[in-house]
Amino acid sequence: MDFLKDPLKLAADWLIGLMTGWGMPEGVATGVAAFLGIFVLIAILMVIDIFLVWLERKVVARFQDRIGPNRLGPFGLIQPFADIIKLLIKEDITPANADKVVYNLAPMLSMMSVLILWAIIPLAPNILGVGVDLNVAALYIIAAGAIGTLSIIMGGWSSNNKFALLGAFRQVAVMVSFEIPMVASLLIPTVLAGSMGMNAIIEKQNIWFFILSPLGALIFLIAAIAELGRAPFDMGEAESELISGYNVEYSGMKFGMFYAGELLHAFTFGGFWGILFFGGYRFFGLEDVSPFLSIPILLFKAVIGYWIIMWVKYTMMRIRIDHMLAFNWKFLTPLSFALLVVTALVHVLFKDAAPWVYGLSMFLSNLILGWIVVEFLRRYSRAEREKVEGPAKPAIEAAGH
Amino acid sequence: MTTETLIWLIPLPPALAFFLIVLFTNKSKALSHSVGVGAAILSWLASMVVFFRALGVEHLGEHPYVSSVNWLPTGDTWFKIGVAIDPLGAAVLFFVSITIFMIFLYSVGYHNFGQPAGDHDRKGLPPHGATVEEHGHKHVVPSVEPMYSRFFAFLGLFAFGMYTLVVSDNLLTMFVGWEIMGLCSYLLIGFWYGKPSARAAAIKAFMTTRIGDVFMLLGIGLLYSLTGTLNFREIFGNEELMHTLATPGTTLFGLSLAGLIALLLFIGTVGKSAQWPLHVWLPDAMEGPTPVSAMIHAATMVSAGVYAVIRMFPLLSLDHNTMTVVAFIGTFTAIFAATIAVAQNDIKRVLAYSTISQLGFMIAALGIGAYVAAAFHLITHAFFKALLFLGSGSVIHGMEHGVLHTGNHSVDPQDMFNMGGLRKKMPITFWTFVIGGFALSGFPLITAGFWSKDEILADAWAHGHLTVFITLALAAFMTAFYTMRQITLTFLGEPRTKEAEHAQETPWTMTVPLMVLSVFAIGYGWVGIPEHFPVLGGILPNWFHDFVGHTLHEVPEAPEFSWVPLLTSLGVALGGLFLGWLYYRNVNSAKEDFFQIPVLKNKWYHDEAYQKVFIQPVIWLSEVFTPGMDKGLIDGILHIFDPITSGIGAWIRKWPDLWLINEKIGDGLADITQEAGRTLRPIQTGRIQQYMLFSLVILVIVGAILYFTLGVGL
């Protein structure tokens, strides 16, 4: 039974015991075991990443009324491996006058910023995870994003290419700006759960936080897409304007790292969306049946989140950079702050009330705030339209002419 | 919300209103007064909640509502500021919130909201009326105050100061509120700064009260240096400390430390509550917008001074000498101001002197140890004096209406001899004014003023202060007399001028506060009927004494009932009222008035005396010394010396001055300086890093010297 409950701990204990038996000091053995754990996790992630490539290509094809990869293997499942081989055997170009150290460091940092996020993802409640229950996990997400920002600016600058620099500037401007609504929306689960720890947040979600705060979930999703630099916020790449933005000079596996990092990043944020707002590894008691079920549940939620992010990407047009920043500073940031204040207020007022009263008032406050926002937007856009087109004519009169 | 939180919140709305009005709503009159009145309502509601919750607490005196936060770190400890509501605070909060609310409401009507802007009104001057055309013919109507919004902003700040003072649990925040009110007083008296008299009055009020405040600050400083805290409860609750403070003969004049502190704080009150000899500013303060700023100077702000003394009573009562001084000042002020009030013709000035006199009553009561009586009179007085002032403002407003109607601007709308017969024109104002006036005179049994004044007299009698008793009785008699004089001249008889004939009742925003306040001017007395009073005593419990008395650790005894003070107060009130009516119903002009005695009319020549004692001597000295000493003697001697000194001067000029000093020393110094500057100029390179380097090098050298030679360091 122990094996079923906590197999990883069992395996780790066995491994440590084995190594100490060989005469290794206890501390070193623990370190090696931990290192192995990290290695295994990363390896699994890489495998997932490979299939994400396939998924992405397949889904975009369906969105665009195509079939997608279908030649290699069943449903084209072998296609991503072919892609990898292609990337590996491509010529690895380093531009002249590039800052070599920085140039080579950037893709690694980019990948790293995604991988370190997995340090705090709680895969299951009672399996000794490789992850840590950090008590500032919510902020950790932002911190990892900061490293991603850094990698982009490093890549853009060191390529010694105007397009790359421009792309990096735009991408960084977007990422730095959208960090603010992101922090605010991350604080909403924090307020609801009373902790920044991921496990605590999941344990508190007897009602999904998505139901308590749909607006918060939406803001987090928008900010996450912007952080990822995916359409409609793909200013940094903007293939039709900047060729490919900050990674234009990269080729071969270095580009592959940027590319894979982006896909994994999207998948990871899908996972965070699931953790923060959809109950993480919990699924109506299913997780109690067997600890192993927790991991598929979480991965399933992450895939759903990833699919939504893809859905947005392949159905939306790119937004102009000034519109995007204006949208953030003039709309999303104030809205997220307002939501945070409202959430905190409702939380303080109703936290001792019955759960359904609490949930209902939370939901209603979100609904009301959302309605106010929509109403405001409607008026604003009408005013804008009238500024351009002149006052709207009544329909009958227009029809008469 | 907990009561403590609520207490914290009470002063906030008016302060917010001040900033909102000043920063945002300044342009819109309606918005400004909505914000102001709204804030007053919020504070009033909060105060009422606090008051009624306080009523429900048993032994509130021992367990008041307190809440404090750390404010300034003072070494190991924090200087805490906080709020506290004990019985006294609750009672004061009750009347303060109501009167402030009423002032706000009243101001809307008083400043003619809704009327057109004046024809040639300017900021800083009272409105002069606007011409409107209606049905083809023009007539003049009152015009709206040009600085309407600003007025509400100032009122808001004022209310903030007053609430802060009432709810604070320590002398420092109380002093802060005190000074904010001092500032607002200056701003509101000088509200019509276009008038030179208003400017002078504002400066006078500010300077006079400042004299008192400086002493008060000294007292606070002394208290803090001795006790290390300014919290009332911490000081009064510390028996050991109080005992040390009460040890006599340790400071100058043989006063104990407690006595000295109390005296210093009391001087602050003398200034703020307009006690003799610092009373001179209060009558002049009537230059402010008529009833409102006057009302502030009658019902709330000057009460603050008395409130402060009541607060500090445990300290005050430690020293007998100080008590005597306080009793003397209070009693003297009471009779002294009453005599002046008899001879005044300006409707507001009568009330101003009456206020000084009544405050004297309270101070005297404190001086003889009648703690509860003083608090009781403070509150009843606030109600009926607010009523009287608002009523007089209403009268003036009505008269101004008449003045606008006839267009004869030489008629003073405040002179009582220009009025008469207003009872028919302004019935609501008349009846409320009569209620207020009778309360002020202490009309027996039904008015609040009777009960509180009677209690003071009873205390004086019971404690054997015969001089105080007789003097106060006399002052009470005069109070009744001049009150009736005022009512008779203003409302009774026939109109003496055309303007009075055309006076008009004021709008509801002004009359409603009058009616509300008149309810309290009558009803508030019933909560303090002494237990042993014949017939009425015991029907209602003596709630006020029980409630407020528990503020102190030892509840003061209610005075034994005695017929002497009761009959005295009955006699002086009824007698004064009757005599006033009897005499003044036939007086038609100032010339016929027997009491227009110059010495009273001129306020015992007080301003003149200050002029003579402080200002004239300086002028006199300079005038005496100019012709005789300066021009004759000194100039004569100088003229003898003239040729000699000229000769010496010429020589000195030539050699020592021109040659030595100018060329060698003067120019030399300049040259040296210039040269030095030129030499040192490269040091100032404008390069920040060099500066940093230099200063750091010096820092390191100095640090090394300190560390190695003087042993300063770890």
Binding site: - | T685, G686, Q689, L696
Partner: protein
């Protein structure tokens, strides 16, 4: 375990390096980099004294947070000034920004 002295000496070293940067670098932006090093050194001291002193007294961490805020403000204003100076005088060399003399 790690003694307190290690942190303090480490912070002193970081501080001295920052001081050198502030005093010796020619570029105004680089001077600000030095200032950041110094602020970080101070923060390490604050955190160390929090950890090694009374741990329930959060003053050390609170001060560190306030130093973060001050650093952010300093960088924002400082870099804005540098850019402004660069626009007007076309230089960011501290030695050449010497308008404030005589």
């Amino acid at each position: 375990m790690i003694p307190l002295s290690w942190y303090l000496i480490f912070a002193a070293g970081l501080f001295s390096l920052g001081l050198f940067g502030v005093l010796a670098r020619r570029n105004a932006v680089a001077i600000l980099l030095g200032v950041e090093l110094m602020l970080n050194a101070v923060n390490i001291n604050l955190a160390a004294f929090w950890r090694y002193g009374n741990i329930t007294n959060m003053a050390g961490q609170v001060f560190a947070i306030i130093v973060f805020a001050v650093a952010a403000a300093e960088v924002a204003v400082g870099l804005a000034l540098v850019i402004s100076v660069y626009r007007r005088h076309n230089t960011v060399t501290a030695d050449e920004i010497d308008m404030l003399k005589w």
